[in-house]
Subunit: 236 residues, 2 copies
Amino acid sequence: MEHALHKHTVKSYEDELVRLSRTIAEMGGVAESQLEWALRALTTRDLELAKRTVANDARIDAFEESVHDDAVRLLALRQPMGVDLREIVSVFRISSNLERIGDLSKSVARRVEVLNSMPPLPQVHALRRMGKEVIGQLKDVLDAYVDRNSDRAVAVWRKDELVDGMYNSLFRESLTNMMEDARTISACTHLLFVAKHIERIGDHCTNIAETIHYLVRGERIADERPKGDETETMVQ
Amino acid sequence: MEHALHKHTVKSYEDELVRLSRTIAEMGGVAESQLEWALRALTTRDLELAKRTVANDARIDAFEESVHDDAVRLLALRQPMGVDLREIVSVFRISSNLERIGDLSKSVARRVEVLNSMPPLPQVHALRRMGKEVIGQLKDVLDAYVDRNSDRAVAVWRKDELVDGMYNSLFRESLTNMMEDARTISACTHLLFVAKHIERIGDHCTNIAETIHYLVRGERIADERPKGDETETMVQ
């Protein structure tokens, strides 16, 4: 009887862990569609979609709160060790990265109204490509999480340099644009921030990749982190 | 004998918790001086200090790693519940906010070289005031952490609107500046990002304040979070 009870407890604990991890994957799916919506709203100048994206961010915040509470409860009720403990610690980290991805997507969407009030800029195409790349990385890193695949996570981690390169040329292009036509200054500035938000979302994907590596392997990625925003030291 | 051993274990556990919490306070002190240095380097155009600040960021990253490992070890070896568990969960959150504050300070410092290559801008004074305000909030929130004082944490949380207001007027001023004199475009853009970094550091202080409230009271701050960056919807 005692044995059966014990087994039951263990079983339900595993269930809880699986459920927690599924919630993270679900939260990741929402973050992904928020990012997609924000970028589509921006590139198609769709204010209604932008507003829906902004309103929808509350869902991600609610996810984070409930995931946090569940993780704390699991820590208190069970005494996880080893990979189980890393599962829960990773939940804290990944959910906080997803929450930031949601926030940044909201910031992109919030700028649609201002940008719609000004003539469209050519950089919007570069931005779309950059956004597509980051959406791909977010998808990949979420798949890596679901599969507990650290190699796939490391592959995402390495690809962050690509996004940084895209950001760097967008930065340059925008400065040139502003200098050549002062009427574009306001729009270019907002677009630069949008680009920076997307670059940051790429960084969060990198963070999630690091967390997956730690979760699966029990140790940090040994390599140096790829270089980040190089525009910080870019003398124009 | 067993009783004495038990007491010893408990005592050393408390010691470990206290030590972990002291390390967080120490890490906070380093983050604070990094922010101070970055801002001083920027306003006094001191490239040497900027470089030291950039190099010193590795210290904060090392802090985060060691704090993370200690917290995971404490979770695995002890079975903390209630406020002890919240202590450890808070360590994860606060250290990750401090790590970001370090990163953002590094980004500020990294822009000093570019900004030094261009004529100084009048906005630098507004930036200094904004920086001073955020440094004050970081100090306050770290004190609130050391004293486990949730009222003081909530006071910091409420003051974030002040920084956001400063950022908003700096944003406006910079756009005007760029439109009036195209030669300032590059410098203004970098300065705008510096201002955004500082505004983000203010947000991280707000996050830390929320974590302290949760740590001390066991529940979230009930109020709506103060409004953030209003420039996102600001039609110039």
